[in-house]
Symmetry: C2
Subunit: 442 residues, 2 copies
């Protein structure tokens, strides 16, 4: 296939993609196939001579689609959302064509630099402390990882390396394996399984902190403090705590304003995993959920979940870039270049031009557009709903304004109101809300 044919086939593929996404609602969201279904549909070996492109395209519907779980169907409510937007897809096309491997600044300066600046843009949207923004006097900055699991592991390894260095500084004779075998990391018993796996990979003890339904499954400061004291008394070395903002099973938020100071006092690395919920912090009304970030050593969330940037794009910030560099430094001659020591460019594994997707999405939506997407509804929609409710004259309520949001304010006022009245009111509000939503432009 030469460039001329690619012009034709590429445009056909654009239409195929648009058709797929416009009509995705008609497809069954979960495939009706048994394990092994695909093998019998295609040959056992690659063809000797090329197939025609027409045959390949025909096989998308014959072979692939019957086995696809359609994550972008509006009927998909499993696992978690994965982002998918047209601007991000356009950026991905460009990124594939440039196809540079950005493992150092010199390997493609634009790749490293756009990533640094996009991480600053996003950090500012989240109102992260200045320490985490590369373009300041702070020592931190952001880097894109593939997944939150990777970020958890990278933070754990950096923490392990920092802990070993600190102990060796005061006790240079102590054998390193003797230190590692005493290290202990913590996370909630509600944390994602990848946190436990990170401990397995790094070969360190990982303890689960028990949580209670009565605390909404959040880790409490008192529980962590007690475990640290017991472990220290037993000769162990606490060095890492992975807090979760929005756990996988129930979207629990650990109390990081309580937990952060404990970690800081004990020189324990606090990593915050907000993989799914993190995107919402760009809205001022949700930003308080991130309070306590000022105590963290590292923080991560996934724009590829809920911020319209296609997979993969997991954004991670560290308070001190040198903690990451120190943990993974390798200096083979074939990776050296003239600007090696330029402190701001510390990325070692930005293998793809993933920042292009962020740039396209942030610019094509604007901060307001992204906030609207998180809110999935604007002040105007709420106003319309209220008007509809009050025009119906069955129930009556008034609005209020909270942090710039138009809020429907429901007060139980009459002496004669019973549960059944409230249930009926709720049914009516829900029904009208559905009508309003269906009238919205797609």
């Amino acid at each position: 296939m030469d460039a001329a044919e690619f012009r034709r086939r590429g445009k056909e593929m654009v239409d195929l993609i648009a058709d797929y996404l416009e009509n995705i609602e008609q497809r069954p969201v979960y495939p009706d196939v048994e394990p092994g279904y695909l093998r019998s549909l295609i040959p056992e070996e690659a063809p000797e001579e090329p197939d025609t492109y027409e045959d390949v395209v025909k096989d998308i519907e014959r072979v692939i689609m019957p086995g696809v779980t359609h994550w972008h169907s509006p009927y998909f409510y499993a696992y978690f959302p994965t982002a998918n937007s047209f601007p991000a897809m356009l950026a991905d096309m460009l990124s594939g064509a440039i196809g540079c491997i950005g493992f150092s600044w010199a390997a493609s300066p634009a790749c490293t630099e756009l990533e640094t600046v996009m991480m600053d843009w996003l950090g500012k949207m989240l109102k992260l402390p200045e320490d985490f923004i590369a373009g300041t006097h702070g020592q931190g900055g952001g880097v894109i990882q593939g997944t939150a699991s990777e970020a958890t592991l990278v933070a754990l390894l950096a923490a392990r390396s920092r802990a070993v260095r600190m102990i060796l500084a005061s006790d240079p004779q102590r054998p390193e394996t003797g230190i590692t075998s005493k290290l202990v990391a913590y996370s909630s018993d509600q944390a994602h399984c990848s946190v436990e796996r990170a401990g397995m990979i790094a070969g360190v003890r990982m303890k689960k902190i028990p949580t209670e339904q009565s605390d909404k499954y959040a880790v409490q400061g008192e529980t962590l403090r007690r475990m640290i004291q017991e472990d220290k008394a037993a000769g162990l070395i606490p060095f890492y705590f992975c807090a979760t903002l929005g756990t996988t099973p129930s979207c629990a938020f650990d109390h990081i304003t309580e937990l952060g100071p404990i970690c800081n006092a004990e020189k324990i690395w606090m990593h915050i995993d907000a993989a799914y919920a993190g995107s919402s912090f760009i809205c001022p009304e949700f930003r308080p959920l991130l309070n306590g970030i000022e105590f963290a050593d590292s923080f991560n969330f996934n724009p590829h979940k809920w911020l319209l940037v296609n997979f993969d794009c997991s954004t991670m910030w560290v308070r001190k870039r040198s903690d990451l560099i120190g943990a993974f430094k390798m200096d083979p001659l074939y990776l050296k270049h003239d600007h090696q020591e330029s402190g701001r460019y510390f990325y070692t594994d930005n293998s793809l031009f993933r920042s292009l997707k962020m740039w396209f999405v942030f610019r094509m939506y604007g901060l307001k557009g992204l906030q609207d997407y998180i809110r999935k509804g604007s002040n105007e929609v709420n106003e319309t709903l209220l008007k509809r409710i009050n025009n119906g004259r069955k129930i009556h309520l008034v609005p209020c304004q909270l942090s710039g949001q138009f809020v429907l304010r429901f007060a139980v006022c009459a002496r004669t109101t019973e549960s059944r009245h409230i249930r009926e009111a709720w049914r009516l509000i829900t029904q009208l809300a559905e009508e309003v939503m269906q009238e919205l432009p797609h």
Copy 2:
């Protein structure tokens, strides 16, 4: 941007990509910028309101291109090749639109299944032993990783887990940290820096095996055997050897036919890293370089380097799937599904639909097309060259046939031939070869 606008913008992007790749030769291959060049070219924060798409596209030339190292320029000779083909780009567009996260069979059966079968197709192209092919009675199979560095690490972790299990089986009371601290892994002193980094991540000793220029920098069986014996005598536990076929500095090939039996006898996991050179093994004349694979526990190479499948696509095979599953098994309820125990589907992290790229590329080139790409020249080209040489009547030679290849056979025959004659002949052959190559269709 809605689907209708995407149809228009997507087609424009296809043309932009085709223009970029058709004219890439005119761009300077290495950018003339200083660190920090990009930050001053764009705003310090994301826009509140959306930018226009026209502005975003204009900024590709203004902001991005001046800082791009053009990996696909024909003048790019740094690092290593990274694959880029039109069929792979088309597949990537489709993969981005489907946008499924294939972390289990149920998360998108087609994703898991196509990967299994494509790994079998590629394994058969390489004539891997049946043990490594999933669709046989063997216990092995292939899985796509992001990079060879990841594959090295995954193999090391699986080996560590297997070693600990074997030792605990004979000595159940031994503490696990006591075992890990005695483990020792090996690789060539020529191996890529990611091998050393894998040891750091896993927290195990990694020893470099010295190589000699006189051995063409290949690891010798005798050297490995001696190191193992010394380490065992010192109470250490050898458990992992990473062999390299085609090292980064000089493309050295470790002697795996010698090294493999030593590893097997000592129950040491042998991983073979053929990141760059591996693609060539699809040609029968290069396949002997892979002899010894029958002793390996795992094997990896990068189709995203030299087999026309765009980054990322690093293919890894294991002899026993259960070694990988055992090392990383996690069973949270939210990942359980009805077909959990279906033995053939063991992939836990195939996050992207990367097998689509393999499928498109294998079908659009066919095995022969891929072999031609590796050879970068066909028997016909060699025949044309020979004809041209002999027609010139200045020098004369005859061909021979070696493993299906048309080979130009140069024998020094006359009593009166001196060095200067041979140099002159070589100059003529080179000149004619260049002419022939330039006449080829692009």
